[in-house]
Symmetry: C2
């Protein structure tokens, strides 16, 4: 969405059990301004779902399967922010994240069931959206909304098959205006 | 957290299939400043999980099973905000939500698979966190963070068995200071 990429990486995935959570991580990344989501390579179902949504509701947004998300974290050519309830408060870190993203690509790492200690060490920022246990999807949403300071909510989409028209009551879905 | 209650209501639940999503709705409501979550009465597993987390990490936070969440919506003595990708942009509605919550209790309704049209009609606000399909958990997180303007991140908890200490790297969990 901006000059430098924001990618979201989901570290681990258990097929079946994690399908909806991983899918929601990907859809949240797409809807809230990230440029790309990276899933472990066993998350083929969630990857297909996110690609299908991008095909229907527009992009650009990339979905990537990666055999070693941990290597992606190690070798990322920019800033790495790891979301964890053990980290520093997002309200104290968000300005640093914005400053870093103004200069270089940002990787937002969303944990799975067991996050190895090396991820905490490789991260430039371990970020907590409260130090309470809740949801990696909720944490990702708050971090992206604060990173982009709400600009992501006004993002325009290209190559959509359908567009939802905001309404006070009810549902309206139209074909995109060709003039756009 | 404030003078007037904020409750979050999950409209429908499919045991098994929706357990993690419903649990995450409840944990997100708790962590991000709501006072109470209401689940359909078949969501006993998620209710137990949220109560267990409240017992360990503190409250106050109430979990309630309700035989008719739709009736709760109809009879709510305050403002009802229904989260839906078909609604009006959260950035346009949030000031109205804050003003309403300053005066009376606020019910934030999170849909399930099929939301009946009466919920759209009974809602004072149908609110969209983008008009893109993503995650009710992500939508709830953004709405609560904007409703409370970040104050929820500094909330203090009572009667916790354990407290996570924010750290730049690693994990630290302590027993709460009895002096608190």
């Amino acid at each position: 969405m901006d000059d430098h990429e924001v990618a979201v990486c989901r570290l681990s995935h258990r097929p079946g059990r994690d399908d909806r959570m991983t899918t929601h991580v990907g859809l949240t990344a797409r809807a809230l301004g990230a440029d790309r989501v990276v899933f472990p390579d066993n998350a083929t179902g969630p990857a297909e779902t996110v690609e299908d949504i991008t095909g229907r509701f527009g992009g650009p947004f990339d979905v990537e399967l990666n055999a070693s998300p941990k290597r992606l974290v190690r070798e990322w050519p920019g800033t790495v922010a790891h979301l964890t309830m053990y980290g520093l408060p997002v309200q104290d870190v968000e300005a640093d994240l914005r400053a870093a993203h103004a200069e270089e690509p940002l990787l937002v790492v969303v944990g799975g069931e067991k996050v190895p200690f090396e991820v905490y060490e490789h991260a430039d920022h371990n970020v907590a959206v409260t130090n309470q246990p809740h949801s990696e999807i909720a944490g990702l949403a708050v971090v992206l909304d604060r990173l982009f300071e709400g600009r992501e909510l006004d993002r325009e989409w290209t190559d959509a098959d359908r567009v939802v028209v905001p309404k006070a009551t009810g549902k309206e879905v139209v074909e995109p205006d060709d003039g756009e």
